[in-house]
């Protein structure tokens, strides 16, 4: 029971962590050029293991555009229907850079702290005794 409860808490924490990083991840996918919605979703899934609910990403893209971080344009595609391409504005590039630097500093400092935890085998008997 204990391990199940911990497992659920761990999954919840991991979900919150992924959710918190989503905006940074979306901005990062557009760092190298313009992409349309489905390409952004696939990029998130392939490069970051962020299995994001599709219904979450499109509203965030709309907000980022409303905030002036993204620009968009409808482009005719070979598929037969136009696609809405997004790209970073100057302000969006600045925000992406700030977020990436903050993330980098934070993860590097935390990595030092968790290093001993990763090296040591967890003794299940000891955990049960606690």
């Amino acid at each position: 029971m204990r391990m199940n409860a911990n497992g659920e808490r761990g999954q919840h924490w991991e979900a919150q962590l992924r959710k918190g990083c989503l905006e940074m991840a979306i901005l990062s996918t557009l760092w190298n050029g313009r992409l349309y919605g489905l390409e952004i979703l696939r990029c998130l899934a392939d490069k970051s293991q962020l299995q994001v609910a599709e219904g979450t990403v499109y509203p965030i893209l709309s907000r980022l555009k409303a905030e002036g971080l993204l620009q968009s344009e409808w482009v005719e595609a070979e598929a037969g229907h136009p696609r809405k391409y997004y790209w970073l504005t100057l302000s969006g590039r600045r925000r992406a850079r700030e977020m990436a630097e903050a993330w980098n500093d934070f993860s590097a400092s935390l990595a030092v702290l968790v290093q001993p935890v990763l090296k040591r085998e967890i003794d299940d008997d000891q955990l049960d005794a606690d």
Binding site: Q16, L17, K19, G20, C21, E23, M24, Y36, G37, L38, A53, E54, G55, T56, Y58, P59, I60, S62, R63, A66, E67, W74, A79, G80, H81, P82, R83, K84, M99, A102, W103, F106
Partner: protein
């Protein structure tokens, strides 16, 4: 273009009609832009096989009402982070409270802060009509604004200064709450750290 059987086409139209319905209240151009993009997403997500089922694609997008809820929240957050309107900030906090604990806490901050400002303001308006009943009352270990619960052993300390002091407190509570809400809404979008 992706080949669509009549059934699949009907399913797409039904989904988009539901989304359009759930987005009522938003500007028409915004709704049309959203519907156009979601339609494109569905068409792009469909496999080339015309017999392939559409349900997984629609399921991945979520129910139209849920998707519309996300759009409304994100649009409100975008507006609120640059707004000084208490009404917009309060309604954003209310909507946010529906989707998370932090939103609920933010909503409580909004209610408490703006509630305090309104209460101070009401007592200022009442003071000219009830000069001996409205004030800052001190005595026997109590400190009460407005009308005291019991009169015995308490006395009013602000006198003629009550109105300007309370006006200042009302203004401070409103401005402080507005800035706190704007900050809370803006920091929501930063990566978790």
């Amino acid at each position: 273009m992706t080949n669509l059987t009549p059934t699949r086409n009907e399913q797409i139209e039904a989904y988009l009609a539901g989304l359009n319905e759930a987005l009522q209240g938003m500007r028409r151009e915004q709704r049309e832009e959203i519907l156009r993009e979601i339609r494109t997403h569905i068409l792009d997500s469909l496999p080339d096989n015309p017999q392939a089922v559409i349900e997984p694609v629609l399921r991945a997008l979520g129910a139209p009402e849920r998707l519309a809820e996300h759009y409304r929240t994100e649009f409100l957050l975008a507006q609120a982070s640059h707004s000084f309107s208490p009404w917009l900030l309060l309604s954003t906090a209310w909507r946010w409270a529906h989707i998370g604990i932090r939103g609920f806490v933010v909503f409580l901050v909004a209610v408490f802060g703006y509630g305090a400002a309104v209460t101070f303001l009401i007592s200022v308006l009442l003071k000219p009509f009830l000069p001996n009943q409205v004030g800052l009352w001190v005595g026997r270990g109590t400190l009460e604004f407005g009308t005291p619960g019991h009169r015995a052993g308490v006395h009013e300390v602000l006198g003629n200064s009550y109105i300007p002091v309370t006006m200042l407190l009302a203004f401070g509570a409103a401005v402080g709450t507005t800035h706190a809400l704007r900050w809370l809404i803006r920091t929501r979008r930063r990566p978790a750290h």
